[in-house]
C-alpha cells in the first residue's frame, strides 16, 4: 500500500518536474537573453501577496498567485518603459510590497496556515493533481504564445530599437513576454517555491546559451537540462531526505559550474582556429576577450 502511494507521489513529482522544465526552458531563454532576471525575480516575489490573498479569501492560493504575478508583470513592464523613475528601484519596491501584502493577508487569515512554507520553498513531492492540470494549462498557453510570436520576440529581445523602426509594437510585446514570465512563475512555485524560482528560470538557459547559437535550440536544451536537474534533485532529495526545491537548485548550480569549466576548457583548445585571419581581412584579427 505504502509503496503504491510512494509511486503515485513520485510519478506526480516527476510529471511536475517535466512541466516546470518546459516553462523554464522556453521562458527562461528569453529571461536570460533579454536580461530580465531581476524583473522576473520581482514578479516571483509578488506572488506571495496573491498566495496570502488566497488564504485570506479562502480561494486557491495558486489563483491568487496568478493574479498577483500578472498584475506585477504589467506594472513592472510599464515602469520600465514609461516611468521616469529608475527601473530597478521600482522593481525592488514592488518586490518588497508584494511580499508585505502577503504577510499581512496571512496574518489576518483565520486558522492554521501550515503549508505556507511549501509556497516559499517548494514541495514538488506533494503537488496535488489539480495543480498539475493548472501547470499543464499554463504551459500550453506559454507554448502557443511563443509559437505565434517567435519572430517578434526574437526581434524585440535582440534589438529593440530596430524592432521599433520596422514598426513592431515593442511595448506590447515586452508586456506579453513579462506576462509569460508571470505564468511561468506560477508553474514553478509548487516545485521550487517563490524564493528559488529565479534559479530554475535562469540556470538551465544560462548553460544552454553557452553552447547553442540559435534561440530555438537554446529553448530545447534548457528544457532538457531542466528535466535532468529536477529529476536528479528529486531523486537525491528522496534518497537523503532533503528539501526537494533546494536540492533541485543546488543540482542545477553544480551543473552551471561544470558548464563554465567545460566552456573554459573548450575555448582553450579552440582558440587558435577561431582567431585565424580570414579572407585577408585584417579586421578579423581583432582579439575578442
Amino acid at each position: 500500500m505504502s509503496t503504491v502511494l510512494a509511486y503515485d507521489f513520485m510519478r506526480n513529482a516527476f510529471l511536475a518536474g517535466l512541466l516546470v522544465s518546459l516553462a523554464c526552458g522556453v521562458v527562461g531563454t528569453y529571461v536570460v537573453v533579454k536580461r530580465i532576471v531581476f524583473i522576473s525575480g520581482g514578479i516571483a516575489h509578488t506572488a506571495y501577496g496573491g498566495i496570502g490573498l488566497g488564504y485570506y479569501l479562502g480561494i486557491s492560493p495558486m489563483l491568487g498567485a496568478t493574479l498577483f504575478t500578472t498584475l506585477s508583470a504589467l506594472g513592472m513592464g510599464m515602469a520600465s518603459h514609461r516611468a521616469r523613475q529608475r527601473e530597478d528601484t521600482v522593481i525592488g519596491i514592488m518586490w518588497a510590497v508584494g511580499m508585505a501584502v502577503g504577510i499581512i493577508f496571512v496574518a489576518l487569515s483565520p486558522g492554521y496556515t501550515a503549508d505556507l512554507m511549501s509556497y516559499l520553498f517548494g514541495s514538488i513531492l506533494t503537488v496535488p493533481g489539480t495543480d498539475l492540470w493548472l501547470m499543464a494549462g499554463l504551459d500550453l498557453i506559454i507554448i502557443i504564445v511563443v509559437v505565434l510570436y517567435f519572430e517578434d520576440f526574437k526581434a524585440v529581445a535582440f534589438d529593440e530599437e530596430f524592432a521599433q523602426v520596422v514598426g513592431l509594437a515593442t511595448e506590447r510585446l515586452n508586456l506579453l513576454l513579462l506576462f509569460l514570465v508571470a505564468l511561468t512563475v506560477v508553474v514553478l512555485i509548487r516545485a521550487v517555491g517563490i524564493i528559488l524560482v529565479i534559479a530554475l528560470l535562469s540556470i538551465p538557459a544560462a548553460i544552454a546559451g553557452q553552447f547553442t547559437r540559435n534561440l530555438g535550440q537554446m529553448m530545447g536544451w534548457s528544457t532538457l537540462l531542466g528535466i535532468i536537474f529536477t529529476s536528479t534533485g528529486l531523486f537525491l532529495s528522496y534518497l537523503y531526505n532533503l528539501p526537494s526545491g533546494a536540492t533541485i537548485i543546488l543540482v542545477a548550480a553544480v551543473g552551471y559550474l561544470l558548464s563554465l569549466l567545460y566552456a573554459r576548457v573548450q575555448r582553450g583548445t579552440r582558440l587558435p582556429a577561431n582567431q585565424s585571419v580570414r579572407r585577408g581581412d585584417c579586421e578579423a584579427t581583432i582579439v575578442k576577450k
Binding site: F150, E151, V166, R213, N214, E283
Partner: protein, 257 residues
C-alpha cells in the same frame, strides 16, 4: 524638368531631450533620389535628427513627414543603419537571421516566407557577406557587423535609407569601397548620411547640409565658409583635416595646392 517627389519634409522641427533643446528650427526637404550628407560637430544633434526620421524619437515641435506619413507610423519604407549596433553580441542569432529581421515589416502572417529569406540573402550578397551567413554575430569584426546592419536595412527594400556614421567602425582601407556601394544604392533609393568625416562625405554625396542644433542647407554641394564657421565656430579645425575641396569653396588663408 520633371519635379521629383518629396520623400522627406521637415517643418520647424524642435526636439528636447532630458529638458535640453537638442534640435530647433530645423527645416528640410529631400527629394526622391537625393544623396544628402549631413555633417556637423559631435553633439550637434545628428544622431537625434536621424532617429526622428526613423520614428525612434518623437518631435516636441513642428512637423515631420517621411514618405507622406509621420515617421513613427510609417513602416517598411525606411531603412535605418545605426552608428553602433545596439544589440548584445552574445545573443544566440546568426548573421542570416539578423538580416532576415529586416523583413519584419513586410512578412505576411507571423512567420517569414521563402521569398523573405531569398530577399534577405540577396541583401547579404549585396554587401558581400553571404559567405558568412551562418556565422554567429559575435564572430564578426566591427566592419563586418556594420555591413550586416546595412544588409538588414536593405532587406526591407527601403525607399529611404538613413545611415548614421556608417564608416565609424569600418577599417580605413574599406571606407572607399563602402561609399562606392552607397553610391550604387543611390540609384535605387534616397540616401541620408550623417557623418563628422567631411572629406569622405563630400566625395560621394550629392548635397551637403550642416547640423549643429539647427540645420543649414542650401540644396547644393558647397557650403559657404560662413556657415561652416557658424556651425563649427572653428574653421582652423577644418583645414587641419585637409581641404575638403568640394565642400568648401576655395577661400583665403588655405596654404598649399
Amino acid at each position: 524638368m520633371l519635379k521629383r517627389r518629396l520623400v522627406i519634409e521637415v517643418n520647424d522641427l524642435g526636439v528636447r531631450l532630458n529638458g535640453n533643446s537638442v534640435l530647433a528650427d530645423v527645416d528640410l526637404t529631400v527629394q526622391e533620389g537625393d544623396f544628402l550628407g549631413i555633417i556637423g560637430p559631435n553633439g550637434g544633434g545628428k544622431t537625434t535628427f536621424l532617429k526622428v526620421l526613423a520614428g525612434l524619437i518623437r518631435p516636441d515641435h513642428g512637423q515631420v513627414m517621411v514618405l507622406g506619413q509621420p515617421p513613427f507610423r510609417e513602416r517598411g519604407g525606411v531603412g535605418y543603419v545605426p552608428q553602433y549596433a545596439s544589440f548584445d553580441r552574445s545573443f544566440p542569432v546568426s548573421v542570416g537571421e539578423v538580416v532576415l529581421m529586416g523583413r519584419l515589416a513586410h512578412r505576411r502572417g507571423r512567420n517569414f516566407s521563402s521569398q523573405d529569406r531569398q530577399i534577405a540573402l540577396q541583401a547579404l550578397e549585396r554587401v558581400e557577406m553571404h559567405p558568412l551567413r551562418n556565422r554567429h554575430i559575435a564572430e564578426l569584426s566591427g566592419g563586418e557587423q556594420q555591413r550586416v546592419l546595412l544588409a538588414r536595412a536593405l532587406a526591407g527594400s527601403p525607399r529611404v535609407l538613413l545611415l548614421d556614421e556608417p564608416t565609424a567602425s569600418v577599417d580605413s582601407r574599406f571606407v572607399a569601397g563602402f561609399y562606392e556601394l552607397l553610391k550604387e544604392l543611390n540609384r535605387e533609393m534616397t540616401l541620408i548620411l550623417v557623418s563628422h568625416d567631411i572629406s569622405a562625405v563630400s566625395r560621394y554625396v550629392k548635397t551637403v547640409a550642416c547640423l549643429n542644433h539647427t540645420l543649414y542647407y542650401e540644396h547644393s554641394r558647397e557650403i559657404s565658409s560662413t556657415i561652416i564657421e557658424k556651425v563649427y565656430q572653428c574653421p582652423v579645425d577644418l583645414i587641419a583635416h585637409g581641404v575638403p575641396h568640394r565642400v568648401l569653396p576655395p577661400h583665403d588663408g588655405v596654404v598649399g595646392t
